[in-house]
């Protein structure tokens, strides 16, 4: 099953993105913990596209696709903004005391921790493509529906 959504690069569209992911997870009867991981990862990824790839442009296209097959969800997010090198980004020091703690820089880290794999590809012709995967389990179906 594949679900797709296209939005422009505006923060206010992230509510629609979140609704889209939540609905996908609901339709696939994903467990609460899988749903949560997807919600967070997609939200962080799209926010980064808006902030860092489109650098404030509000009309950049973002295409999001969620697919479930073989017990694995694959999310791809494609944009046509600036490319970047994820290896150049320092990961946060999660053991630092408050004074030394960076205030941002947790988005990429959360995506990597909550998804099984996170891969960025940059291609001048087809845009930037982020692919995130996570093995998921379905909720046991309820015996009967509550009224």
């Amino acid at each position: 099953m594949v679900a797709k959504l296209s939005v422009t690069s505006e923060m206010k569209n992230l509510t629609a993105v979140s609704d889209f992911v939540t609905e996908f997870a609901r339709q696939q009867s994903l467990r609460e913990e899988d749903t949560f991981a997807l919600q967070v990862a997609v939200d962080e990824a799209c926010a980064n596209v808006i902030d860092h790839a489109y650098l404030g442009r509000s009309d950049g296209p973002i295409r999001i696709q969620c697919r479930l097959s073989d017990g694995e969800v694959t999310v791809t997010i494609v944009d046509h903004g600036e490319p970047f090198d994820p290896r150049s980004v320092p990961r946060p020091d999660t053991a630092a005391p408050l004074e030394k703690r960076q205030e941002g820089g947790l988005g990429l880290y959360l995506m990597e921790k909550l998804m099984d794999s996170v891969r960025f590809e940059f291609d001048p012709a087809h845009g930037n493509r982020l692919t995130m995967k996570r093995k998921v389990r379905r909720e046991d179906l309820p015996v009967c529906t509550s009224s």
Partner: protein, 112 residues
């Protein structure tokens, strides 16, 4: 998302409802800025009804935590963190030890 604030005599309670996504995190930032600008630096964030919080929401919490604690003037304390958000956001990012965390809002308010 919905943010409800309640001003008590010495403490302000900020209740987070629904999803603090990367979009709505800006509103949370606004709420905190208004409080700290008014020198209301004893803040309890009640997460009872929080569905998730993005890294931008976390940033607002950390910024405000630092601001309130400066010169020992106040603090930002958390309560009712849902288990999923506790494990998959706060513990994962190493934020848990930075905050004073309480089981319920009475204890959090009464801790000041």
């Amino acid at each position: 998302m919905e943010i409800k604030t309640r001003q008590l005599k010495r403490v302000d309670i900020v209740e987070l409802h629904g999803r603090v996504d990367s979009n709505s995190a800006a509103q949370l930032e606004e709420v905190f800025k208004t409080l700290t600008a008014e020198k209301r630096l004893r803040i309890v964030v009640d997460m009872q009804n929080l569905e998730y919080i993005s890294s931008r929401g976390l940033r607002a919490l950390i910024t405000t935590l630092k601001e309130t604690r400066r010169w020992n003037r106040g603090d930002l304390r958390l309560c009712n963190i849902p288990p999923r958000i506790k494990s998959d956001v706060f513990d994962l990012t190493g934020l848990t030890p930075l905050f004073k965390v309480f089981d319920n809002s009475v204890d959090a308010v009464g801790s000041f």
